[in-house]
């Protein structure tokens, strides 16, 4: 559905001839009907990637294809396949009503939106009663939903959402997740860039984590969670001061301590490593009280890939 092929985008550094690699030879594919999350810390290159997909930025190298159409060479055909929410609630005309915005944005794409279809979309988002309300008088959550309504009014199979839950309160964010799930059920392909780990955990099928312009991992969300869950252990040890000293010598630096009981969190690449670790503790006379497999949330996975 969306193919990003070897994308490179350089920006000039201020007061310098040097260039910064905002996106550094990034490639990935978004398949039809999936929710694909693009994650990364600030400045990782997510927005530049999304904007390149929308044809708002011309890359220095590489290309983007949407349903086989090149965004650079066949721009009208490629852009006819996608609609985007780029700046959250800022991408709407605030002095126009929701339905006027929907009519305008579908109109400038050459489509005529009839009223019954518009109301159908608004009903699915719980906005029907507010169809004629001006955008500026809506709450932030409502504005975000209105932006999605505009996107849906454009009647495309692919939706690009840049930071869709930014600034939403907990209730709105939870509601937003169920909206994304229902869009997926309706057959939409969704590419979202976000910092919201809860959103990713709740809705994404596949995840690409970007850091410093590169994709550091691109995997099915569940596989990532499984791999990390398999690796993460919480080990409780009964330690004397001597044992703690030994632990430090063995390279363990941080732990939670409660009297002579300490709790270590370790990430292991295989279960064999766990046995090796148990042997190390035994040979150093460090008493093991318990070993637990740790539950992993997406935040931990994200941090482990983007740290340093």
């Amino acid at each position: 559905m969306i193919e990003v092929i070897d994308l490179l985008k350089l920006y000039p550094k201020r007061n310098s001839k040097e260039k910064i690699k905002a996106v550094d030879h990034v490639s990935f594919k978004v398949e039809a009907g999936e929710i694909f999350a693009l994650l990364g810390p600030n400045g990782a290159g997510k927005t530049t990637t999304i904007k390149s997909i929308c044809g708002l930025i011309i890359p220095d190298f590489g290309e983007v294809r949407i349903k086989g159409f090149s965004v650079l060479k066949e721009r009208p055909k490629a852009l006819a396949q996608i609609s985007a929410v780029l700046e959250g609630n800022r991408n709407l005309y605030w002095r126009m009503s929701i339905i006027e915005n929907m009519r305008y944005f579908s109109g400038i794409r050459g489509k005529k939106l009839n009223k019954s279809r518009a109301l159908e979309i608004l009903e699915s988002l719980g906005l029907k009663e507010r169809a004629n309300q001006l955008v500026h008088s809506l709450s932030r959550g409502m504005q975000q939903k209105a932006a999605i309504a505009v996107c849906l009014a454009c009647d495309t199979d692919v939706l690009l959402l840049d930071e869709p839950t930014l600034g939403l309160d907990v209730h709105s964010a939870v509601e937003f997740r169920s909206i994304l799930k229902s869009l997926k059920e309706a057959g939409k392909t969704i590419l979202l860039s976000t910092h919201d780990m809860n959103l990713v955990e709740a809705v994404a099928d596949r995840v690409a984590i970007m850091n410093r312009g590169r994709i550091v991992v691109c995997e099915e969300k569940q596989k990532l969670i499984d791999v990390f869950t398999a690796r993460a252990y919480k080990i409780r040890l009964v330690c004397s001061e001597e044992s703690k000293k030994r632990l430090r010598e063995l390279g363990f630096n941080g732990w939670n301590e409660n009297g002579n009981l300490i709790e270590l969190q370790v990430n292991l690449t295989s279960s064999q490593k766990l046995y090796e670790l148990i042997d190390t503790f035994r040979s150093n006379n460090i008493e093991i009280e318990s070993i637990e497999k740790e539950m992993v949330n997406f935040e931990k996975i994200f941090i482990s890939y983007t740290r340093g």
Binding site: K9, G55, L56, I57, A78, L92, M96, K111
Partner: protein, 256 residues
């Protein structure tokens, strides 16, 4: 394309209605400025000026100037405002190219500015100042269209500059006041007639003052009118595309 044009036309009317205070105050400002100019010239010129065509020329020239500045300012201010609001990029994601969206907006504004502002205000100004201006409507519209097309070209150039530099209000003001000389002053110099709107203004004065009709103008007048109109529009498109591409390369579409 037709739906895109209608969408832009509808949006313009919605915004005129929503920002009604701004609309009313613009009309008031235009009239106040006109009366200052008109009575200023009348006071300086003395009683003999009442019999000359200078005053009628001022009325026509002033309202041509308004059509001109509204046309080119609309694009540039539109881009600045959209960049501030955050809607500019959203419009850019349309499969119908942005320059066409701009063109549709300019045509919408042209219709509104002429039908609801310039022509009624011109009659109103003539009536309230005791002047009589006779117009052949077909000739008037022909000249308005021919003249405004060149202004749209200037609008595209300013819009392109606004895409890159964003804060271009001072530059727009310079062009606005510079454009006074294109429309307000009569000249037979070919170079002057090649300036945007200048030829149209000159023909408009002939229409307003002498009652010259469409078929009574010389062929060379028509040729210059359309050469200038299409020339500026083409240059406007080319320059706008170049700036648009530059903005996409440096990623400055939404930055303000």
């Amino acid at each position: 394309m037709w739906n895109a044009f209608l969408a832009n036309l509808e949006k313009m009317f919605i915004e005129v209605r929503r920002y009604y205070f701004n609309t009313i105050s613009s009309i008031a400002t235009l009239l106040i400025f006109f009366y200052l100019l008109f009575f200023g010239v009348k006071a300086v010129g003395g009683p003999s000026i009442n019999l000359s065509s200078t005053l009628d020329g001022i009325i026509v020239g002033y309202f041509m100037w308004i059509v001109f500045i509204f046309s080119f300012q609309g694009v540039a201010w539109g881009i600045i405002e959209e960049a501030q609001r955050g809607t500019l990029e959203q419009v850019f994601t349309s499969p119908i190219a942005f320059e066409y969206q701009m063109l549709f907006r300019m045509v919408s504004e042209f219709l509104f500015n002429n039908v609801f502002l310039a022509i009624p205000l011109m009659y109103f100004a003539a009536f309230t100042t005791g002047r009589k201006i006779g117009f052949d409507l077909a000739t008037l519209l022909y000249l308005m269209i021919g003249g405004t097309i060149s202004a749209l070209g200037i609008g595209m150039i300013l819009g392109g500059i606004a895409l890159i530099f964003k804060r271009v209000s001072s530059f727009i003001q310079i062009v606005t006041f510079g454009s006074l000389s294109f429309t307000m002053f009569e000249t037979q110099s070919l170079w002057h007639r090649l300036l945007p709107m200048s030829q149209a203004s000159s023909m408009m004065r002939a229409l307003a003052i002498d009652g010259t009709r469409l078929h009574q103008f010389r062929f060379s007048d028509h040729a210059i009118l359309w050469l200038v109109a299409l020339g500026y529009l083409s240059v406007g498109f080319i320059v706008f595309r170049a700036f648009e591409r530059r903005a996409m390369v440096v990623g400055s579409l939404s930055q303000y």
